[in-house]
Amino acid sequence: MTLPNVGVSEISTFDPALPSDLNSAEAIQLTFSGLVGLDPKTLNVVADMAQDVPSVANGEITNNGSTYTFKLKPGLKFSDGNPVTASDFAFSIDRSLDPRLKSNVATVYLGAIKGAMDRYAGTNGVTSIIGTGVVVVDPSTLQINLAQPVAYFLEAMTYSTSFAVEQSNASFTNAKWTDNAVGTGPFMLKEWVHSDHMTFVPNPYWYGAKSKITQITMPFIKDTEVAYKSYKAKELDMDGLGATITSADYADAKALPNHQLQEGPYLETNYVSPNWNIAPFNNQAVRQAFAYATDRDTIAKTVLKDSVYSTDHIVPNGMPGYFAGLQGLAFNPTKAKQLLTSVYPDPTKVPAITLTYPDVGDNKAVALELQSEYTQYLGVTIQLNGEDFNKLVNDVYGNNIQFYMLAWIADYPDPQDWLSLQFTKNAPNNTMNFNDPNFDALTNKADVEQNQATRFTEYNQAEELAVDEVAWIPFSQNKNTYVVQPWVSGFTVDAGGLIPDSVWANVYVTQH
C-alpha cells in the first residue's frame, strides 16, 4: 500500500521522543506504541500495551490522582523478538526528557511527572527520574508519580514521548539509530531512503489483530498539489496524510466518484484574539461587538470554499468534552453595532486597530474578509499586517500585539489543552491577557478532578466564560480531509490526523 506523507521532503525525526509535527508522528505511529492509545472514533483513552486504562475505580490511580500504575499485557515483544518490560517504559520516558535529545515537546507531554522539568533542564542535579518519577515495581508493572495531580495525564501519555524504545537500540547521541529502529507497533521499518521514502512491513511480534497489508511504502511528497495530482494519476493509494486536501483541491476531491473524499473534524481551531490590555479591546462590550460582527459562515463557505467548518467554539468538535450546547456569540451585526456604539457612539473615534495575521496559506484571504466585515458592520477601519507565522508566535508572547490571528492544534485530546493552558492567569499561552478568577477557579478544579463527567462540565462552564468575555473569537475549525482510492477498504484517520494502531486490522487492498 502506498501511503504518502505529504507536506515534507523528509520527516523531521523517527525518534518517538522528538516529533513536534504530524508528518513525523505518522511514521512513528506505524512502528512504535505505548501503554495507552486513543479510540479512533471517540478519541477516548484506551489500553494499548497496558492491560487496562488506569482509573480510581480499578485502583490504578491513587494518592489523590498523583500516582498512576500501569500493568503490562503478558508476552509483549519488540519487533526483534526481545521482551518488553516495565523498565523499557521507564527508560523510554526518562530518555525523552534527556537534555541531549533537545526534544521540544517532551515537557509538553511529560512535564507533569515528578522531576521531569529538572531532568529536561538539567537542573537541581536531576540526571534521571527512574526510581522517582517513573518506578519499575516489577517487570510487568510501572508506576508513575506526578509532581501534582493532573487529570489529563493519560491523554498526554498517548503521545509518542511515552512510547517504548529498546534500550539496546535507542541512542542518546547518535540520531542515526532510527535508521534501524526497533519498536512495538503494528509495522516495522524495512527501509528508509532519506528524503525519498520509507518502507514498512508487518511486525511479526505485534500484539494486536494482524493486518492484511503486507507492505507500506511511504513516499515523502512536500507539495500538496503535486501529491493530489499523483493521487489522481493513481500513483498513490491515498492522499491527505500529514497535510489535508487543500481548499484549492477540495471541490475537485469532493466530486471524485465512489466517495473517495473522507472528511471529519480536525482538532484545530482558527481564531482572532483581542488583547485585553490594549484599547479598544480593554472593554468587554467592544470585544463582544467584534465577535458578533464576525460572519463565520461567509469565511467558511465563501472564502475557504467549505474546506473548514464555521465555529464559535474554542474546544473543537471531535474532542472529548466538546460542549455541543455552548451559546456562542453568533453573527449578529445589529447587536454588534449596538455594543460598539454603547462605548464609542462615533465609530470613527475607535482607536486605530491593526490585525496581525500569519502570512501563509489562506490566512490573507480570511484577514481581508474580516477587515471588510468589521468595516461594514462596525464602521471601523482595520489595518492588516501579514507576518511570518513563527515571528507572530514569538511576538504574541510579548503580550503586546493588539489583535492577531492564530490557530491552535490539539496536543492531546483533553479540554485542559484548550482552556487551562490558554487562558488561566499565569498560562504561558495567555497572550491576550484574559483575566477572570471564576475561569481560573473552574479550570483549576477540572484539571485535577478524577470524575470525567464532572470535569467536562467544569470545562464547559469555563469555555462559556472565555467565549462570552471574548478571549478568542473562533471562526473556523479545520476539516480532516483525505482521499482514498476505491480499491482500499477499512482505512480511516482519526480527528488528530493519525492512523490508530487498531485500524490496520481492517484495512485491505483489492485487485485493481
Binding site: E10, K102, N104, A175, S195, I221, S230, N390
Partner: protein, 313 residues
C-alpha cells in the same frame, strides 16, 4: 600544472569562505528567520525558547557560531541540522548529491546530444527553412524557463488523467526509469537551446575560416571537412561555455527538484530555506560552490586536451 591546481585550490578556499559567509550573514540578518521559533511552533513560550536556544548554542555571539562552523568545515563536518534533530548535514546531503549528479549529468548529456547536432545542422543549412525552424524551436526552449514548462506539463497530466489516458509519473525519482524521463528532459531543454545556438554561431564562424576553404579546395569530402576540420575547432569555444552552463544547469535543477519532488541538493536547499535550517542550506551552498569550481577546473583541463596549443600553467 601543480601551480595551476594550487592556485585553483586557494581560489576554492576563498569561494567556500565567501559563499558560507554570505549565506550565514543572510540567515543571521534576515528578519523572521529564527530557527528556534520555527522548531517550537505553537509551543514557543519564552521559557521553552530560551532553553532550546541555549541547547543549540544559538545564544552565543555570531562570530563564535560562524567560527565553529568554519572549524567543523575544515574537518569535513557540515554540522547538525536544526530541522532534523541530531541528523548531521553530511548524512543529509550525501545521498542528495548523488541524485543531483545523476539528474544534472543525464540532462547535460541529453542537451549536448540534441543541442550540438541541431546547431551544426542549422549552421550547415544556414538561412534556409531548416535553420530558421530549428533555431526558432531552440530559441523557444532557451527562452522559456523550467518553472514555466512544468505547469504546462501538469496541466497536460490533468487532461490525460481526466480522459483515462496513460501518463508518465507526476512526481518522484527513485521508483524507476519512467520517473526520470520528464525531469531530465525538461532540465535538458533550456541547455539544449543554449548549446544549439552557440554551436550554430561557432560552426558558422569556423566554416568561414581559411583552413576550411583550403580543405574543400583540396577536394576532401564534405563529411571529412565538417567532422575533421570544422567540428574539432568548433569544440573549443563550446567547451568554454559548458563549464559556466553547468552552474546554470544546477540552478535549473533547483526548480525541477522542487516541483518533481526529487530528493536532490536543490530540493534540499529550498526546503532548508523554508525550514530556516541554516546548517543544511550552508551545506548545500558549499557543495554547489565546490562543484561549480571543480567543473570549471575540469573544463580547463579538457580545453588543453582539445587544443594542444594551450598548456595549463
Amino acid at each position: 600544472m601543480l601551480r595551476f591546481f594550487l592556485r585553483r585550490l586557494i581560489g576554492l578556499l576563498f569561494v567556500v569562505i565567501g559563499v558560507t559567509f554570505v549565506t550565514y550573514a543572510m540567515g543571521y540578518l534576515a528578519p523572521n528567520q529564527d530557527p528556534i521559533a520555527a522548531l517550537l511552533g505553537q509551543h514557543n513560550t519564552p521559557q521553552a525558547y530560551a532553553t532550546l536556544k541555549h541547547e543549540y548554542g544559538l545564544d552565543k555571539p555570531w562570530y563564535i557560531q560562524y567560527g565553529t562552523f568554519l572549524l567543523n568545515l575544515a574537518h569535513g563536518n557540515l554540522g547538525l541540522s536544526y530541522r532534523y534533530p541530531g541528523q548531521s548535514v553530511n548524512d543529509f546531503i550525501g545521498p542528495a548529491i548523488a541524485i543531483s549528479i545523476q539528474l544534472g549529468l543525464s540532462a547535460l548529456i541529453l542537451a549536448l546530444v540534441l543541442g550540438i547536432p541541431s546547431g551544426i545542422i542549422a549552421a550547415l543549412r544556414a538561412n534556409t527553412w531548416v535553420d530558421t525552424s530549428l533555431m526558432s524551436v531552440m530559441l523557444f526552449f532557451y527562452a522559456v524557463p523550467a518553472f514555466v514548462i512544468i505547469p504546462f506539463y501538469q496541466v497536460l497530466i490533468d487532461i490525460l488523467v481526466a480522459n483515462n489516458l496513460p501518463t508518465l509519473p507526476v512526481q518522484g525519482w527513485s521508483e524507476g526509469l519512467t520517473y526520470k524521463i520528464v525531469p531530465v528532459v525538461i532540465l535538458a531543454l533550456t541547455s539544449m537551446g543554449y548549446f544549439a545556438r552557440i554551436s550554430r554561431t561557432v560552426m558558422l564562424e569556423v566554416l568561414r575560416q581559411d583552413y576550411v576553404r583550403t580543405a574543400r579546395s583540396k577536394g576532401l569530402s564534405e563529411r571529412r571537412v565538417i567532422y575533421l576540420h570544422a567540428f574539432r575547432n568548433a569544440l573549443l569555444p563550446l567547451l568554454s561555455v559548458i563549464g559556466p552552463s553547468l552552474a546554470f544547469l544546477v540552478s535549473g535543477a533547483f526548480v525541477i527538484e522542487d516541483l518533481f519532488n526529487i530528493p536532490g541538493v536543490g530540493g534540499a536547499a529550498i526546503q532548508a530555506v523554508a525550514n530556516r535550517d541554516w546548517p543544511v542550506l550552508q551545506g548545500t551552498v558549499v557543495v554547489l560552490a565546490v562543484a561549480v569550481v571543480i567543473m570549471n577546473i575540469v573544463v580547463d583541463i579538457l580545453y588543453s586536451v582539445a587544443d594542444p596549443r594551450i598548456r595549463i600553467q
